[in-house]
């Protein structure tokens, strides 16, 4: 089952999930949108196996992966490599068949959904909202974890909503109905909902999917900005390797549910990886300081055509 080219993930003895030393990128102390310091609790998968209901094989196999505080970690891999499943498992969206996911020292399932969501916010790939919902109302849903069950939203909540709207630049749209927005605006509205939750860890599933070029890069810039100014930790599933290289501090490459490699983008995104995992011959260079991938064609034309 293990493909010929697979190798064991780079050994990372220091990879304990502890916050990494402040680099120039993340010099600012981690702080939530309201200025509260964030907890350094991070997510860690240990020997994680995940299988979908009515499926015959595990979508994620024996995954060991630690998210470091304050980093942006991109999950990449071809279709069906288990990256969305891995993300969902990290965010207690799907239960493990074996192995565990830890938040700090505790199993993610040991807390209630509400308590967990104070630390980790998760946005699926295609979120759905009811017709007629205004942007402001959607964003305010992010305050659920901070509002007592029978309480009404107070000053702090209104302030958080306003800040979140401004952070992703949708303040002008707050009264608009969601269905009247463009795809890019809607994606940012959802992002605002997530920010409003003020969780120090964000899990995002393909946030740039189905957006046009400008909106893709705007969204990447917003995420990078949030990470730099507020120290928000992010795990982001990305389809586009150039996006991953641009956004992420580290890249985790998944292949058929297994971790193929994890490390800085420049070390992970290599011609050998593209051949092994994505099945393409490619040349990798840099242009304007950015990673550039030129795909030459399928690695094994007879198999792929």
């Amino acid at each position: 089952m293990t493909p010929a080219g697979a190798r064991t993930p780079r050994a990372e003895p220091a990879d304990t999930g502890a916050p990494r030393p402040a680099s120039p990128d993340t010099a600012a102390p981690p702080a939530g949108p309201a200025g509260e310091p964030t907890t350094a609790a991070t997510l860690r998968a240990r020997g994680l196996h995940v299988r979908h209901r009515k499926a015959e094989h595990d979508a994620v196999r024996d995954l060991d992966l630690a998210v470091r505080g304050g980093e942006i970690l991109a999950l990449v891999g071809p279709n069906g490599s288990g990256k969305s499943t891995a993300l969902a498992a990290l965010g207690r969206g799907i239960a493990a068949r074996a192995g565990t996911v830890l938040l700090g020292d505790a199993d993610v399932w040991s807390r209630s959904a509400r308590v967990f969501a104070r630390t980790v916010a998760r946005l699926p790939q295609l979120p759905e909202a009811p017709e007629g919902l205004a942007v402001r109302e959607l964003v305010a849903s992010g305050r659920h974890v901070h509002t007592p069950w029978l309480g009404t939203p107070g000053r702090a909540d209104h302030l958080a909503v306003r800040e979140a709207l401004q952070a992703v630049d949708v303040g002008d749209l707050r009264g608009r109905k969601l269905e009247t927005l463009s795809g890019g605006e809607r994606r940012r509205a959802w992002l605002a909902m997530m920010l409003c939750q003020q969780a120090p860890v964000l899990l995002l599933d393909e946030p740039t999917a189905a957006l046009d070029l400008r909106h893709q890069y705007e969204l990447l810039a917003v995420l990078r900005e949030l990470n730099r100014t507020r120290g928000v930790t992010m795990v982001v599933v990305l389809h586009d390797l150039e996006h991953a290289a641009r956004l992420a501090d580290r890249v985790a490459v998944l292949q058929r549910g297994r971790l193929y490699d994890v490390g800085p983008p420049a070390a992970c995104i290599t011609p050998a990886m593209l051949r092994d995992v994505f099945g393409v011959e490619a040349r990798i260079g840099t242009e304007e300081g950015r990673l550039r991938i030129v795909v030459l064609g399928p690695a094994d034309p007879a198999r792929h055509l």
Binding site: R53, K54, A88, G91, R92, G93, S112, A113, R114, V115, F116, A117, R118, A121, R122, L123, P124, L126, P127, E128, A129, P130, E131, G132, L133, A134, E137, S141, G142, H144, V145, T147, W149, L150, W190, M193, M194, Q197, L203
Partner: protein, 340 residues
């Protein structure tokens, strides 16, 4: 002149968006329906004489009003409000405007439960609402379970089909029970066509408790219900225990539908039509939607019942039949407009 007109129109638009406007409007409609229901009937009481007839025990219409019309109106209010809120809850549970306690088999389940209580333990009248609740809950559990078993989640088609199948099973069971226990279940012969005829204050009391409990709990959970409208992953992402919330809302919906079904039989489509109408005007926020559904459902059932007992002259039509005439085409219209 045109300027003031434009300004006036803007003000009216703003007013229409405000939920308070709709609350007042629906209250007025409900008051009108109640007034009409008091005044018209086999023995017409002129509106001007209604207050006198209500307080003066010697008035010829006094007994009719207090023992026939008022309990019937009160029952219409309770049943209508309970069904409308039940429908709104079920639509939130399945995130689909096609959900309704009738279509999903909850009313039929409650009917079968109540019927079994009546024929098996005729002396234990307190058992009837409990069994009705259990029956409704069992029906919704099976329907939701089957509908959610698909790999792509709970689509409208799976939902409606499993509801229809459930309803068919329950109706045949109801028919069998009424056939074998015809002597013991005379009131349930007309169960499948809901009616408010011949009900008294006792029936109002039986329905009121569970209706208040369910309606109050639903109002308290309004914010949670709003989160349930997001997709499951997003709702879980903002910290909602989705399964538990859905189970709780289903229980409340079953309780409300059972409270209505145990006294009025199968009154369909109130739970479908009312929340949909109100959602179009005030949006999906349950903190506004639920109270307006109570008013709208009450007004609709009281008005429909009044129409049902006066339209055909000395004959009384069952209100369930009239509402089905209204709701069936509405259901088809939703299907017609929807793409999926």
């Amino acid at each position: 002149m045109t300027h003031t007109l434009a300004a006036l129109r803007l003000r009216l638009d703003r007013l229409a968006q405000r939920s308070g406007f709709w609350a007042v409007l629906l209250l007025a409609v409900l008051a009108g329906a109640v007034g009409a229901a008091i005044a018209v009937g086999a023995a017409a009481v002129p509106i001007a004489e209604v207050p006198a007839a209500l307080v003066d025990a010697a008035h010829p219409a006094h007994a009719v009003l207090w023992q026939v019309r008022l309990p019937r109106i009160a029952l219409g209010v309770v049943v209508g409000a309970a069904l409308a809120v039940s429908g709104a809850l079920m639509q939130a549970v399945v995130r689909n405007p096609l959900a309704d306690p009738g279509i999903m088999g909850v009313t039929a389940g409650a009917g079968l439960g109540g019927l079994l209580g009546l024929v098996l333990w005729p002396a234990e009248t307190a058992l009837v609402p409990v069994l009705a609740f259990g029956g409704g809950l069992a029906a919704i559990a099976v329907v939701l379970g089957v509908a959610a078993s698909g790999t792509h989640g709970m689509g409208p088609l799976r939902l409606v089909l499993s509801g229809v199948a459930m309803q068919a099973i329950l109706f045949s069971l109801i028919a069998l029970v009424t056939f074998f226990f015809a002597d013991r279940a005379p009131a349930f012969v007309s169960f499948t066509i809901g009616s408010l005829a011949g009900r008294g204050w006792g029936d109002v009391g039986r329905a009121l408790g569970p209706a208040l409990l369910g309606g109050g709990a639903a109002m308290m959970a309004a914010r949670t219900l709003n989160l349930l409208l997001l997709d499951d992953d997003s709702a879980a992402g903002v910290g909602l225990p989705v399964r538990r919330a859905r189970l709780g809302a289903s229980c409340l919906a079953a309780l409300l539908a059972a409270s209505a079904a145990s006294v009025a039989g199968l009154v369909g489509f109130v739970g479908l039509v009312v929340p949909n109408w109100i959602r179009v005007t005030v949006g999906p926020d349950h903190r506004v939607l639920l109270p307006l559904c109570m008013l709208g459902g009450a007004a609709l059932v009281v008005a429909a019942d009044t129409a049902a007992r006066t339209l055909a002259g000395p004959l009384e039509l069952p209100v369930g039949a009239l509402l089905a005439l209204l709701g069936g085409p509405y259901f088809l219209a939703i299907l017609w407009r929807r793409v999926a």
